[in-house]
Symmetry: C2
Subunit: 350 residues, 2 copies
């Protein structure tokens, strides 16, 4: 089959790789219908995370179940499914409380599973899915137009939702969203769904400001750092925000998030920290909490799927570039050069 | 009047100081009935926080209103009152959401107020109370035997309660309390009040273990560091605790708290951080949150007062040494030498 391989920073190719097959009786093989490129895929693409050998890549996909192992109970061939960005058994104590991203039997697409067996990356024609019952969420009665929004639930929408849950967004809140990438935009949509009265998004890019507004942002702050923080404090009459979503992961963005949070508020963070040092004395003095982490996208999938199917949310609008799998290199380039918020790859028929 | 002055590390004396009087129309003057020594008073007493000149000390007291300013509405002379460990207006936006410890008009006993006027320390015969309407909480119909428990609400019980609130303790939870000082013990009592099913306290001192058990602890772990963490993980079948109260404030105690928290749990911290560096990557990877800070004791005072008056809680049991104000030096020595969990000072008649 064809699948995406990152050979070295900047060098992403569609290669011929072995077809996956059932290796464990809890596996499924899924034929991919659509996949996409994540902001986190850009870390190795840009060489910020080292790439020492060619690696399979991609961790977001929807598709059709092709084959199941003999122990799989909840799926059958032909089911249309969404995969969260990690696989998990959904039965262990961590999964049971909804933190599937901490499942000790789970893991990431494109790496090895806990038995050392290859798990395919998502940006390819087929994927072997370990722990298929626990991992995959079925979708019934969708139409083709919903596929981008269903695909967005794999990662960015679930991650933005997690930021809003972690920040404890409540009805009537003033919320600040730091970051206007696909996750930040999903955070805006999430905060709006949770009833935030005011959503201030920190965004410098016009196309993203526009989508943020359509997703429910009420105010835009284009400035960053001290100036951006001062603007938010002024907009909140010196009080700060009731809840803050940190959707970037840099030291600067975290500093801003902690500064604009009012005393007693929580910063919900989902941007993988790169160069973040937490100012514990200031956090303590101001009673500003921090919660979040690797999003348990699996937890939120059933409800968010239903919200997509009912037309309540349309998170697939973050995909402002749609290409066939053959053009995966361009999909990366467009995101790397900020020509696209998020690139979607059409792989097969649904 | 007589009041406690810390002259230099280890040198605490009862000195003659000016009698306080009403300086602002929102002030009250309170005649102190009982005060106490806080673990945080030991930081300057031990020279860990520098002492460059003699300072008034003490921030926990109950007493009787002697005089009120012309703008004070909710109090009158003769009222028995509890003071939280900070004063606050209780009307600003931070106070209104219950974070009175962030009140921009507020401050600490024994320092200057926002206008630069002296505020008395609590370990003395009288205290000028700024913002008296916002700060003081009245008590009706108490008997003498309740005074230690009412005094405990000034700081340690409110602080332990804040740790449990911040850690989001819920009915049925397994809770770990790191620290067996008066705050940690109050944290145990708070978690028990909130319905925790299992309360594991990390404690090495027999007298504290005993009181912890009486307050509701179900398990004791005497070991610290790696060994203590391993014991907690074994006791929780490798899962970790649903909520963790960090009541010490050192790097080691925070490390333990974060390690024994299960994924998705929150560490509620109230020990002022000394040498704490937060491991953000590990916190992110495990979805372990951190919340808390300088406790808004004022927020919790009315409810905790009622719980004391009804006999539901008896947090005054943390006072295992009661002395007259004259013996304040011994009160400090006994805590410094760990002969007492917490020293109470009887100052005047109630």
């Amino acid at each position: 089959m064809k699948a995406t391989v990152l050979h070295s920073p900047g060098d992403v190719r569609l290669d011929e790789v072995p077809d996956p097959r059932i290796l464990d009786d809890t596996d499924a093989v899924v034929r991919v219908v659509a996949a996409c490129v994540c902001g986190s895929d850009l870390w190795p693409y840009r060489g910020i995370n080292p790439v020492t050998e060619p690696v399979r890549i991609g961790h977001e996909f929807v598709g059709v179940v092709e084959e199941i192992g003999s122990a799989v109970r909840s799926l059958r061939a032909g089911d249309f499914v969404i995969a969260p960005f990690m696989f998990s058994d959904n039965t262990c104590p961590h999964c049971q409380v909804g933190i599937q991203s901490a499942c000790p039997s789970g893991g990431f697409w494109g790496r090895e599973d806990r038995q050392g067996k290859t798990v395919d990356g998502a940006q390819g024609e087929y994927v072997r899915v370990p722990l298929a019952d626990g991992t995959l969420v079925t979708v019934r009665d969708h139409d083709e137009a919903m596929i981008p929004s269903l695909l967005a639930l794999s990662d960015v929408m679930g991650t933005g939702w997690h930021a809003a849950v972690a920040a404890n967004v409540r009805e009537g809140d003033t919320v600040v969203v730091v970051g206007d990438g696909a996750v930040g935009l999903s955070g805006v949509l999430s905060a709006a769904q949770m009833g935030a009265a005011r959503i201030i998004v920190m965004s410098r890019h016009e196309s993203r400001q526009k989508l943020a507004t359509e997703f429910g942002a009420t105010d835009i702050v284009a400035a960053r750092g001290d100036e951006g923080e001062a603007q938010v404090m002024e907009m909140t009459h010196g009080v700060g925000a009731d809840a803050v979503l940190e959707c970037v992961g840099t030291g600067e963005s975290m500093g801003t998030a902690l500064t604009v949070a009012r005393p007693g508020a929580t910063v919900g963070y989902v941007g993988a920290p790169h160069g973040v040092e937490l100012p514990v004395a200031a956090m303590f003095g101001r009673n500003v909490g921090l919660a979040g982490g690797v999003a348990p996208a699996r937890q939120y999938l059933p409800n968010l799927r239903d919200a997509v199917l009912s037309g309540q949310i349309n998170p697939g609008r973050v995909f402002d570039l749609q290409l066939p799998l053959d053009e995966v290199a361009e999909a990366y380039r467009a995101m790397d050069e900020r020509r696209a918020i998020k690139s979607m790859l059409w792989v097969g028929r649904s």
